[in-house]
Amino acid sequence: MTNAPQTPGEACISAEHLVRRFGQFTAVNDVNFRVEKGEIFGFLGPNGSGKTTVIKMLTGLLPLSSGSARVEGLDVRADSEAIRERIGYMSQNYSLYYDLTVAENLQFYGRIYGLDPARLKRRIEETVELNGLAPYMNLISAKLSGGWKQRLALGCAMLHEPKLLFLDEPTAGIDPVARRELWDLLFDLSGHGITFFVTTHYMDEAERCGHVAYIYFGKIIADGTPKALKQLPQIQPQGTKRIGIVTPDATRALRIARTIPEIRSATIYGDSIHALVEEHVELRGLGVLFSKQDVAVSEIRPLTPSLEDVFVELSAQHEASLGAARA
């Protein structure tokens, strides 16, 4: 695959003021972001927030309402044909032909990209080797388990050696082992210079991405490395801190926590409660408040925010600002 002439430092994807309207509804509202070459870019957001719409615009499935985007140095509006040659796309439902065998699916996708027979043969061998599909080549793909279907779909999307792969919720409904294996594979490939644009709902997956963006009802409200996002000043509002309260009775503890005015917000995480409290609150004193109400607290410690905390906090602030704007 020939690369487009690219100026050094040019982004793999750059979107500027991307807008997509469906009638009255604005699904994607003035979205800007950059994805550098070789990155694993995690694109997160609630269902219906515009993730898939952005992917469809970048892959040429949906025209832009306004704004501009470049993929692999090519303009999305003008060169969508050329872009299709260079990218791979794996949709949420894998888009495999379930009545065909694994080998036939690979054959088909290879041919559709116009690989010549020699290269097709070589690429299928490489893909099968990489994804471990060899034992299943002659199996009807409907009979593969979820994890293997996903590997096959990934293989099909990579046959033509794209430098950029769009994976739309690649791990939805996959068991944890298969999920981990997929991510290992993604890291491996990204080490070879392939860029990944991945949407996901899983926060642990988001933590693994080198770069994440969070889209909330059509607007990107967070964009950066996971580490940078956690240090955003608005995540830790002035005069507050995050703490973890470990307790065997988290449900009751949560109820109590919500009655304490110094605790701004609280959520259960397994056997502990994550809370945002006012900075002056003394941790030991807090423990006493709980034990007074017969809830044993084994430990209270300071916490760094997780990505989930970041997104929840930012969404809430965004909602609040929207509410303020409406009022």
Binding site: L61, L62, Y113, G114
Partner: protein
């Protein structure tokens, strides 16, 4: 990027080979569907071919013969011999005669009055009452006509001197279908409907299935082009449709013993544009339908006009003006001209080429519209 013309044409069909390869595999894998879609038309043909007879024979008839002498019995014998009437019962009252028709036991009631023979013998005009069930118009017509001509024939015989001939003697001769067998007339027309069934339905489903599963969207992210995709999808079903045509024509000739007066090779060749139209129609349907259920309904919408406005059942010449105009937009109209022309009348290419041309033009037009819809709308869906 401006490419040379030749390359651009090749580019427009990109992905054709791959899609064709895959589609053939689908057809092979889903052998059951293929089998049924091939065999069901043949079954329909057997049912219609053996089941439908538009020539009215043996109408159930009930008789009240109040006279019951030689003259009246002779008259009844002539009715029976006409093959149009089948006397199921003799009754003894006007009421019983009426009841037999109301109950549906008989379609026709014949009453011969007491004085029938007397009046004839005295050279007076004798009357016969024929009661006809008007609720079935296809029976009523022949019942009146045949009874009238028997009466007229009988009257003339009595008026004319012995050995005289009729002044005008009409000798009808049915060309092409001398026995006026119904299958000869119906099956060539039915071919058009059955082929539509196979081709339109199969192609529509083949594409809508990909929409439902999301693979169509995946294909649009690849370099495949609309014409490459659509032709790759269309061609396997073209072959299946052609095979079905051969199957239908073979069973028409050897099971229903319909003589084919024209050239079989011409029939095969000139059917290709019709297959093309119905496949393109299937593709157009699939560009509209979001699910297989929806595709099914739309495909049935194409069947109805093909049955009623194509001349398959009702002659196009007797249709109200608006429907006659409509019939020119129904591809089956042209194909029925072709099949009846070749099979029944032995028509040649010089008689039929305009029909083929219209079909080809229709097919190209439909495919063009479908490809445009795929390029524009489906991508945005």
């Amino acid at each position: 990027m401006k490419l040379p013309w030749g390359l651009r044409v090749r580019n427009a069909f990109r992905g054709f080979g791959a899609v064709f390869y895959k589609e053939v595999l689908h057809v092979q894998r889903d052998f059951a569907t293929l089998f049924f879609s091939l065999i069901i038309p043949i079954l329909q043909m057997v049912l219609l071919g053996f089941g439908i007879d538009t020539n009215i024979r043996q109408i159930n008839t009930v008789v009240y013969n109040a006279d019951n002498r030689r003259q009246s019995r002779e008259f009844l014998d002539r009715l029976k011999n006409s093959d149009t009437f089948h006397i199921i019962r003799y009754v003894e009252s006007d009421k019983a005669l009426n009841d037999a028709i109301v109950s549906g036991d008989a379609r026709v009631g014949i009453k011969i009055p007491v004085d029938f023979s007397d009046r004839l013998l005295h050279g007076m005009s004798a009357q016969i009452l024929e009661l006809i069930d008007g609720s079935d118009s296809s029976v009523a017509g022949p019942a009146i006509q045949v009874a009238n001509s028997i009466g007229l024939d009988e009257s003339l015989r009595r008026v004319l001197p012995e050995g005289a001939t009729f002044a005008i003697d009409i000798r009808p001769q049915l060309l092409f279908n001398p026995d006026s067998r119904s299958p000869n007339f119906f099956l060539p027309g039915l071919t058009a409907i059955l082929l539509l069934n196979v081709t339109t339905f199969l192609t529509a489903f083949a594409i809508v299935r990909e929409k439902e599963r999301g693979t169509l969207e995946q294909l649009f992210v690849t370099p495949v082009q609309p014409y490459g995709l659509l032709l790759g999808k269309l061609l396997p079903y073209f072959a299946i449709g052609f095979f079905e045509l051969c199957l239908i024509v073979t069973s028409m000739r050897f099971v229903f013993l319909i003589p084919i007066h024209g050239s079989v090779i011409l029939l095969a060749l000139i059917s290709l544009p019709y297959l093309f139209v119905s496949l393109s129609l299937g593709i157009l349907i699939s560009s509209k339908a979001g699910s297989q259920g929806e595709a099914m309904q739309l495909a049935f919408l194409t069947i109805l006009p093909s049955v009623f406005f194509s001349g398959y059942i009702f002659p196009r010449e007797t249709m109200p003006y608006i429907f006659r105009v409509l019939s020119y937009f129904v591809p089956a109209s042209y194909f029925i001209n072709i099949t009846r022309g070749i099979i029944l009348r032995g028509a040649g290419i010089q008689d039929l080429w305009t029909n083929a041309l219209v079909l080809f033009a229709m097919g190209t037009f439909l495919l063009f519209i479908a490809a445009r819809r795929f390029r524009n709308k489906v991508i945005m869906a």
